[in-house]
Structure formats: C-alpha cells, structure tokens
Amino acid sequence: MRFFVAFALTMAPVMAAAQSGVPPAALSDTQLPDPAAEARATALMQTLRCLVCQGQSIADSDADMAGDMRALVRRRIAAGERPEDIRAWLVQRYGDWVTYDPPLNAVTWPLWALPVLLLVIGAFVARGSFRRRGRGA
C-alpha cells in the first residue's frame, strides 16, 4: 500500500504534466521516477543560472522562477530530450547569461586559451631559475 502511494505520488506530476501544457509546481521539487533521467536533469540544472537570483543555479534556489525552470528541465528530460538541446533552447531564449557553462565562440575562446598560455609562459620563466645539469655545482 505504502509503495503504491509513493508510486502514485511520484508519478502524479509526470502524468499531470503529460495532460496539460502547464508544468505543475510539484515537478519543481520532486524527482523524476527514473534515477538516470533525474541524474541528467540534476546535472543540467546545476549549470543553469537562476535569472532572478544573485549568483545561484536553478538547482539551489528558492525563487519561483527557478522552480518553474526546474520543472521545465525535468519535463523535457522525461520527454526524452537531450540535456544539451534543452540548454541550447534556453540559451536561445534567455541568452548566454543563463548557462554557467560558457559556449566556445569568438567571444569566449580566451577563457580557455589564457590559462594554457599562462602555464606555458610560467614554465618558460621558471626554466630560467634552473641550473643546467652537468655544468657543475
């Protein structure tokens, strides 16, 4: 009996979501029944910015809008969409601001290139303080 109640409780929002286009608020704070799908949803939610918050992901915000976005992510994941497609859809709608994982493009490439450059320059500079082997003490 308890199992049935639990099952009904977890499935209810998914079924409700399937019936109406409006996401029921419950899906914002209840997990998907399939652990693998939920894991994909959580991983995605942790890298999406809550647009009305101050430096929080939608995965850890109490704001209503974050809840709606969590529901949206879970609903789309449950419908079989790939996380990257959902991210792309959100970026198209809200801009790059929404994703904590900056896309690699003309504006963002230095973000990845600069650390590598720093390391190379640093290694080159550090080499100067080393004594060459075999030249004596």
């Binding site: 419950a26 992901s57 995965a59 601001w97 994982d101 973000l111 650390p115 550090a126 303080s129 080393f130």
Partner: protein
Amino acid sequence: MIAEFGLAALWLAAALSVLQLALSAFGLTGGRDALMAPVRSVAVVQGALTMLAFAALIALFVRVDLSVALVAANDHSQKPLLYRFAGTWGNHEGSMLLWVAVLGLAGAAVALLERRLPERTLVATLGAQAFIAIGFFAFLLFASNPFARLDPAPAEGLGLNPLLQDPGLAFHPPTLYFGYVGLSVAFSFAVGALVTRDVGPVFARAMRPWVLGAWIFLTLGITAGSYWAYYELGWGGWWFWDPVENASLMPWLAATALLHSVTVLATRDGLRAWTIMLAVVAFSMSMVGTFLVRSGILTSVHAFAVDPTRGGFILALLAIYIGGALALFALRVGTVREGQRFDAVSREGALVANNLLLSAILGVVLIGTLYPLAVEGLTGGKLSVGPPYFNAAAGPLALILVAMMGAGPLVRWRRDDGVAVLKRMALPILIAVVAFAAVWLRAPGIGVLPLLGLTVAAGAAVASVAPLWKRKLWRTPLFTYGMVVAHLGIAVALAGMASEAAFTQETLVAARPGETHRVGPWALRFDGVEPIAGENWTAIEGTLTVRRGDDAGYVMRPQARAFSAPPTETSEAAIRTVLDGQLYVVLGKADEQGRWQLRLWWKPYVTLIWLGGGLVALGGLLSLVGRVLRERRSRLVEQYA
C-alpha cells in the same frame, strides 16, 4: 557623542598616517635618522586610534543609536545582542571600517614586534603601510562615513538581512579580513625591501611569520565561510564558484604560493624577484577582492553597496596601489641580484612547480571571475562563467598540484635523483593505485575528476606524513610537523570534496505526516510540523525521526523561518553529523494537498572538507609557533654568546 568621538578618532588616525608616510619618506630620502625615529610610535598610535573608532561603531550598534544613519539602516532594537554586535560589520561602511581597523592593527603590530629587519627597511615598510592606509581612510571619510548622523532619528531601525543573522557573521568576516589585510604587511615588506634594495634571506625570514599569520586567518575564514554557506543557504552546496567566494580564494592561492617561495628565499636565497612579485600580487588580490565585493559590481548577498561612486573610488585606489607597486617593481627589479640557481629535480624545483601551478590556478580563477565583467563592459553582452568552467580548468591543475605536494617534501634541497625520489614515493603510489582500483570497482559510474581526486588524496595523505618516517619524532622541529599537518589537511579536504561530488544522494519529496522516505542508508519518518517562535522570528518546524538500520532513531527538526525586520523567509536546515558523513534535511513549503516539501541529502564524508581546512590552518599555526620559538632561541643564543 560616541559617533563624534569615533569620527574624530578616525580623522586623527588619518592625519597620523599622513605624518607616518611623510616621516618615513623624508627620513629615508634625506638620510635624516632623527625623522625616522618616531615612525614606530606613530604607527602604534595610528593603529590604536583606528581600533578606537571601530570600537565606537560597535558601541553605537550595540546600543542601537538610531540617530546614526548607518545604525538606523542596519540595526534593530529587537535583534539579539550577538547580531547587534556582529551587525557592525554586516554592512558596507562598517565592514570597510573593520578593514581599516585591521590595517591599522597590522601596522601597529609590525611596529611593535618586528625586530629582525634593518631599521631603514622597517621604516620604508611602515611608510608603505601608511600609504595604503591613507587611501582607505580617504575612502571611509569622503565616500563611506560610518558615523554620519540622521536627523530626525527614526523610531526603529531597518534590521539586518536574516541570512546574515547567524553566529557565522561574528566569526567569518573578521577572520577573513585579518587574512586579507594581513597580506598588506607582506606587500609593505616587499615595497620596503625594494625601496632599500634589501632583498635576501634575512628579509625572507622576517616576512615569513607575517605571511603565515595572514594565511592562517585566510584559511580559517574560507573554511568557515564555506561551512556557513553550506548550512545556511539550505541547498547543501559548499562551494559555488561565486565571484565573492573567488574573491577570497584568490588571495589564498597567492599567499600559499608566497609562503612556499619565501621558504626558498629564506633557505636557499633563490627566487628573489619572484617572491617580491608574489607579495605584491597577494595583497593586490585582496584589494581586487575588496573591490569586487564592495563596489557592488557583482550583485550578490555580499555586495551591500550598489553605488558607482564608491566603486570608482576603490578602483582608483586599486590602480594607484597595484600600479605603483608594479612600477616600483619594474624600476628596481634590475637591482635585485639574481638569486641562487638550482637543479630542476630538487626541493627548490618542486617549490617552483608548486608556485607555477598555484599561479596558473589563480590565473584561471581571476580570468573566470573577471571575464564576464570584461565582456559586459566591452561588448555589452552578458555571459556566465560558473562551476563547469572552473572545475574543468582548475580541477586538473589542482590534482597535479596535490600530487606534487605529496612528492615535494621527499625531494632533497639543491639536487636530487629522479629515480631515488620515485623509490621514496613507492608506498604512496601503491596506496594511490589501490585506492583507484577500489573506488573504480565499487562505484563504476563515478566521474573522472572525483575518481582521480580520491586517488590523489589517498596517495598524498600517505606521502604527506612520510617526512616523519624514521625521524626521531620528539626532535623533529615543530614547523616540520606544521608542514605535515597542513599537507595532510589538503589531502583530507580533497577526499571530502571528491566524495561529496561522487556519492551524494538526494531525495526530493512532497510528504504527508506519517510517511517514511529514504535517502542513502537512512529512513526518515515525517512526524509533522508545528509553529514556534524565536527572539525575532517565527517558524514552522518539522519533526522527522531518522533511522539507519535498527538504531533507536534520532529526531531532526528543520525549520522554515519568517523574519519580520526586514520581512524575509529563510530555511534552517537540520544536519545530523555521523562519522561517515552528514544527513541534511530541509523543510520547504506546503502544497494545496497538505503535503510538505522535503529536501533530503546524504553526503558521505562531506565533513572531511572542513576538517581538512581546519588541519591546514592548524598546520600553519604549528609552523608559525615553531618558527617564532626557534627565532627566540637563536636570539637568546646571540645575546649570551
């Protein structure tokens, strides 16, 4: 009266800092020793006056003097004493006054305690310290006066952000500021040594305790801040790569690098210019952090001030100090004689690798934090740089760094043999391989970074205690224990981070009273909710009986709190700490069907993160005490020889 007294003390202190700078500048350039004689005393009085001004502000907050604008905007008569007290620095002006007070205290401490530096270098150091202080006094007095009156005084204050109403506020900001501003001493030492062209082992040995002290506070402040965010924000995260967190991490990274390079300078007279550079960079990072947090350029819980004139002011100070120090560095670096060279495979070489990796991580954090601001400033486009970038860019570097940390202390000074080092590393490497295999077999789906994290942590933990192997333990100097404990702490913290990332389990449910839900090995029965009231809040408190296996059961009471001044809702997580982790329970809202939203997390070994941080700070403390004791002993020997 108290407000006027505080303001007068602040003005006097500012005037004394001008005097302090003038005396040391004219004394040094004119070669008139008489001018330099009073510099120490001036620095002490200046520090005392700033502390007095800060004490005055504390008194105003504790007494809730609403005729002072700052108190009226941030205090409330119904607030518990602790938060009236700690609320002094829970706002822009108050926290800047704390900043300046710590700066004054640091200057006074140098004037009173520093006996090792040549007198001229010390005077130059105190002059540099005064130069920094002048800028921040000007900022306080002209752009952020904490003592401004409000007429007429309101009947009640506006109160303090409830998220800040936590014992953490009493501890976290002062600790962090002692670290931030303590680094100003390293900065001033570097400037002083550049002015008098006096960079060498004596200088390094004099600077080391101050860097260590600041670094201990920074470590404690970051660790405490991380735990505070973890339990207070109610989502179980311990690090968000938020710009404000990065602002505290960057000085720590630079100070950690400095701590290691200063050892090379003190022991082997190498890395002279680089150590000076790092001292400048470390305090620059503190100022950049202050700028990021205080200017309101980031909108976040910490950025109380959203006021562009203040931002401009701090930016100007930043340009003057960092630019000035770098210019001095560029002018004088040619006169800093090249230090001793060394083999690549040597303790010095390992420490250079440490510095290189720490600097690269610092670069990643700095670039990632500033990049969105730069892009927005230049193109107007908004983009976010968050955990996916920082983890991917800094994570691998950090893993290599921790692996190097294990090996470093096992390498000899001057020159060593690579094969011999590998032999000494045999046991740690074996342990790491076993850990890798064990984790891989038990948790096949684990991510790459957590898997490697646990592997490296296991190896580094063993390697970090290896320097004690076959030594006479009671004759091993205290600072060697310090290094061992600090390195072990890093390995422990890494294990906690990796475990949290890999093994956390989450259950989100809408629960009716009487239902039982599971997370990890725990069964939690939701018994119901009831309203309760605190000193300045009301709350709905949930009751859950949690069991693991057949144990007797333990009651947890998460709360959803509502504060009246200012009206805000917060959630107080209930946390149950056991040996192998923490159970984290949050009570959310009720829905129309009378079900309560529960968020349950089981986080295996998450406590290791803060235990590790504590060990790192303890290691620093042991090292500091060990250095100071040895110093005192050698001075006594000199006296009686």
